[in-house]
Symmetry: C2
Subunit: 377 residues, 2 copies
Amino acid sequence: MKFILTNTDTESGARAGIIETAHGRIDTPVFMPVGTAGSVKAIHQRELADDIGAQIILGNTYHLYLRPGQDIISEVGGLHKFNGWDKPILSDSGGYQVYSLAESRKITNEGVTFRSHIDGSGHHFTPEGVIDIQRKIGADIIMAFDECTPYPCTYNYARTSMELTHAWLKKCCERMDETDGYYDYDQALFPIVQGSTFKDLRTKSAEIIASFEREGNAIGGLSVGEPVDEMYEMTELVCQLLPSDKPRYLMGVGTPENILECIALGIDMFDCVMPTRNGRNGMVFTSEGIINIRNEIWKNDFSPIDESLGGYVSTFYSKAYLRHLVMSKEILGAQIASIHNLTFYLWLVKKSREKIIAGQFAIWKNRMVKKLSNKLK
Amino acid sequence: MKFILTNTDTESGARAGIIETAHGRIDTPVFMPVGTAGSVKAIHQRELADDIGAQIILGNTYHLYLRPGQDIISEVGGLHKFNGWDKPILSDSGGYQVYSLAESRKITNEGVTFRSHIDGSGHHFTPEGVIDIQRKIGADIIMAFDECTPYPCTYNYARTSMELTHAWLKKCCERMDETDGYYDYDQALFPIVQGSTFKDLRTKSAEIIASFEREGNAIGGLSVGEPVDEMYEMTELVCQLLPSDKPRYLMGVGTPENILECIALGIDMFDCVMPTRNGRNGMVFTSEGIINIRNEIWKNDFSPIDESLGGYVSTFYSKAYLRHLVMSKEILGAQIASIHNLTFYLWLVKKSREKIIAGQFAIWKNRMVKKLSNKLK
């Protein structure tokens, strides 16, 4: 994997760059649609590529390990071959899923014992094992196994957890370095900064993570319920400590506003289930603001969902029709909202990139943040 | 509406023809995907047109009347404008839905009082009212309001019900003839033959229905639980009595095998939820037979769903990936199975048409019926 930083904004921390992977090039800043179980929910692979313009998608180690299982995925030659997505893939390590399973998991220094959400069966993840699974998944970018701390948590919990994440990272790196790509291409490992919302812990974690000198670095444990200002403060602090010649990935963030603000702080990569999950529930992001499509005001608004965005879904279907589908629990409603929202998110980061390159990012960002947080009913 | 009968098979009752409507031409035999609430479930409009090759879709008066309501649909200029499907549409009259609502409806000579399945609110359908609603829906083909008899039912019930359907038909025709298309195009009315599985009732009903001399004729009250041989017997009987210069529509049928057999009996038009509903549950129709994709045997079968069928969905996605999606309850699984199954159904009637025109239908049909009823696990 190679990262080329091509542009740096003079008025903010925003950057534009290019990541080159075995499965193709990624222009940054980038938003990565989440394909938890090997499918970005309600969206065909050709729609991801052609309509949404996705450059890279996520897969989740936890979900894919449980179903279909690493044997099936390795037998066909990796996740790219299994789901037919031949552009870059990033695999989440399962750290976040383990955090979500709070009730049914036990963490030790060696790893995590947990119960499957599907059938209650018992499983054990170790840092080394998670690397092995991701080798088999064949993701272009592999995430280190970490513990994502809940918010709020005590200083002591956050420190102990962070130290565990660092200890696990060492094991992940060793396993990465002593193994080759499971298929005939290279895979990169990104470590994850933790430390909750404590400045000194985040500082320490960022320094340690940077010292591993992997191909990119991620920030985890944010967007888990903390006030947005604390999220920005931690992101800013960590971005200043992580090397500028490597991509910075802020995990699980966020609203369109969050994304613009964090691009300004120096983030290059984002993922979030919000455009798809909230879309399925009727929240529609447009270039004029946020729509709750269930609101009666849209019942006879026959204008396209977002004409200015272009693309089949956003210009072909009307707000009234989408509202009808969502109210009627028609699957097509979930499909339209998901494609539209992702099209919007990808448009937003593409536009950001253009503005960074043109040296106009800061002013544009401030105007857009105001517009995009506008609730249109 | 105009029907041109172009070819008649010498060895069976099979026919090929062309229906011309205000929204375009339909080659028969035809299969019509069901778009109950204004959407063929899990399928985009462009997929219906481009991938599946649908020539006409259904909408349901009962569902559309309840949601979004006739006011919304008429305000935008009809269902074609509302859902963006600009090819022909046929609207079911609600007779079948009323039959399905057995617990919460009351039938009188004047019409049906029923409770909404959505909110329990009370509503009243009359033959005249149902024509008015379908005028507003703007379907190219409107169905008469009928009572669909359950199976089994007594001779007396079937006779009384049939007479009610005939009395309602008279009212439907009068309302059709005293009104114009609600928009700037013509709409055709199809009456429906009833009579359960009693030969004399079916004979009488077919004769009466034919005597109304509408633009096409339908057969209802079949595929409701009766043995398949009785369905074929009634269909054959009725086809011989309905005029040959008008399209014959067999409502709600059926399996690929049923469709081939009924084409051989003289049916031109079909609709059924089976390809989409059963697809969502993992039943996959292929040119080699029927697959239960949930079966473990497919878990590492990485071959395309049905290469010989052509088309994106059937050739791009593998059986193993589709199985994974269906087992994981991923929406994309429902999407893929629905598109694939409808592609198969449309392929089947298109192939039938080609064989009829080439004078090779009977032999081909017998071979295909054997192949298609083959359960491949």
